[in-house]
């Protein structure tokens, strides 16, 4: 069910259409109303916010919480059934519990600490490109490049020793939507990953090193304390969130540059100067530039209103669920000038792809660095990179990942 009557051309959700038309539809919807009520494939009805400022007002308001999802009192309205293990993470906790958990990890993933990891990211990206070049074209950029970079960075961050990288990658890979494993295989790998990480946490507690697990284990002895289970859940969330999404945006970024000759030429003329703004533009608009039809409906993880709350003139009633559609918010002309245009020099880019408010992406500094490095190094080394066929996308997955991107150079 959607709203009974909406003006023609502002229907929401909407079926796949060419991306230029989808953006026009988003613009008309945002001009007409701040939000639409829609029924999700799982978990029932949810308000979907389209306007950028209304989205910020909601995401920044503590009267919207996730407790009812965590306890199971209410199902999560979403495209797919939300996995239980994710509901046990900080993503579904509310302040003050959320504040304690999050701050401990946040101290390890700051712009400054991530900057210290940049050199090793650049070196590793170049190793991957060396291997691609040695093997010769064509390459599947998803497999050979976009997935490998984030797993290496996660291993460094968490402190997985080099000799364990191979098995860590195998287990973590099963959390990836592109892996295509059976449910039994995923469950077995997740279990092995959990056992391995628990062992590593115990080791780091006994003999701390300069890594995130050691920092989290040590934090136990101060005022803020974390149990081993909390550390494990946090590590798994970082693996699930930090691996798949980052890999996907590296792929989307490269593809969107391959499909926009003027923007690619511009990028090649000043890679270091434009990497930061290009990465933000990929986060905001990259999905529109994949050469595929775009559908409208749903978005970020929902919240529940604890009381009646008015947002941009609409009342979200106590107990109702609400979420933000970041594609709509990223193409709201009130917030983004000429939103239909891919512009890698855009300075004011208030996209909500990494969310906003207390639950904004915990790994944002790391994700940004990896995306910047991922885009920069491939085009620096292979400026003649080109597409060798359409990208393949798994539309039935939570994150709708690109699974194959054939390229040559």
């Amino acid at each position: 069910m959607t709203e009974a009557t909406v003006p023609a051309g502002t229907e929401y959700p909407f079926a796949p259409m060419p991306h230029t038309e989808a953006i026009e539809q988003y613009k008309r919807i945002a001009a007409d109303r701040p939000m639409t009520r829609m029924t999700m494939p799982f978990g029932g009805d949810v308000w979907v916010i389209h306007r950028n400022q209304a989205a910020r007002d909601m995401l920044g308001d503590p009267r919207f919480v996730r407790e009812p999802f965590r306890t199971g009192e209410r199902a999560v309205p979403y495209f797919v059934e939300f996995p239980d293990f994710l509901k046990a993470t900080v993503q579904f906790a509310d302040p003050p519990e959320h504040t304690k958990l999050r701050r401990l990890v946040q101290k390890a993933i700051t712009p400054r600490s991530v900057n210290a990891m940049r050199d090793s990211a650049v070196a590793f990206a170049n190793e991957l490109i060396d291997a691609m070049v040695a093997k010769g074209p064509p390459a599947n950029l998803v497999h050979d490049y976009a997935i490998a970079l984030p797993i290496q960075m996660l291993s460094n961050l968490l402190g997985v020793p080099p000799e364990d990288r191979e098995k860590f990658e195998k287990w973590s890979h099963s959390t990836l939507s592109v892996a295509g494993m059976t449910e039994d295989e995923i469950a077995a790998n997740m279990m092995e990953l959990a056992i391995y990480m628990s062992g590593l946490i115990a080791q780091r507690r006994a003999e701390p090193r300069d890594d995130l697990l050691s920092a989290l284990a040590a934090a136990r002895d101060k005022d803020d304390t974390l149990t081993d289970d909390e550390i494990l859940t946090m590590a798994i969330l970082l693996i699930v969130g930090g691996f798949d999404n980052t890999a996907n945006f590296i792929t989307i970024g490269i593809l969107s540059l391959l499909r926009n000759d003027d923007q690619r030429e511009l990028f090649l003329s000043d890679i270091d100067g434009l990497a930061a703004t290009a990465a933000e533009e990929v986060l905001r608009h990259g999905r529109m530039q994949m050469g595929l039809p775009v559908a409208g409906g749903g978005g970020l993880v929902p919240f529940v209103a604890t009381e009646d709350v008015e947002i941009d003139g609409r009342v979200i009633a106590a107990g109702e669920a609400v979420l933000v559609d970041p594609s709509a918010a990223g193409h709201d002309p009130q917030a983004v000038e000429t939103p239909e245009r891919m512009d890698i020099t855009r300075q004011n880019n208030p996209h909500l792809t990494l969310s906003y408010g207390v639950h904004h992406c915990l790994g944002a500094p790391l994700a940004r660095m990896e995306l910047q490095v991922g885009l920069s190094e491939i085009f620096r080394r292979l400026p003649g990179l080109k597409s060798e066929g359409p990208a393949e996308i798994d539309m039935n997955n939570l994150t709708q990942p690109v699974t194959n991107l054939p390229v040559s150079w």
Binding site: T110, P111, G357, A364
Partner: protein, 108 residues
């Protein structure tokens, strides 16, 4: 509605003078008025450090000493922390008190 002026100096030296509402924060005033360079990713909940500013030295004493959470987050900023570093979500606009802040060259 009472207003006062916040002067935002960008890393390149331009100054944007914005008439803001008393009670709003320096972060919200910037974001609402399209002043770039102040991100405020967490919405003013002291869980990011993307609204970092340098507050004019002579205006620092107007505010109480920062609390522990702000102090910790300021250790996480992208640009170097200085003695006059503050998170602009913690600086509220007050009647009759203009403010002068400098935006650092990086927030994230």
């Amino acid at each position: 509605m009472t207003t006062t002026t916040v002067h935002y100096r960008t890393p390149t030296g331009e100054v944007h003078s914005i008439e803001g509402t008393v009670g709003d924060s320096v972060m919200v005033t910037a974001v609402r008025n399209g002043v770039t360079g102040i991100v405020g990713q967490c919405g003013g909940n002291l869980s990011c450090a993307t609204c970092h500013v340098y507050l004019a030295e002579d205006e620092l004493p107007r505010y109480p000493e920062m609390d522990e959470m702000e102090d910790e987050m300021l250790d996480c900023t992208a640009a170097d922390r200085e003695d006059n570093s503050r998170l602009s979500c913690q600086l509220d606009l007050r009647a009759g008190e203009e403010l002068h802040v400098t935006i650092p060259d990086a927030q994230q």
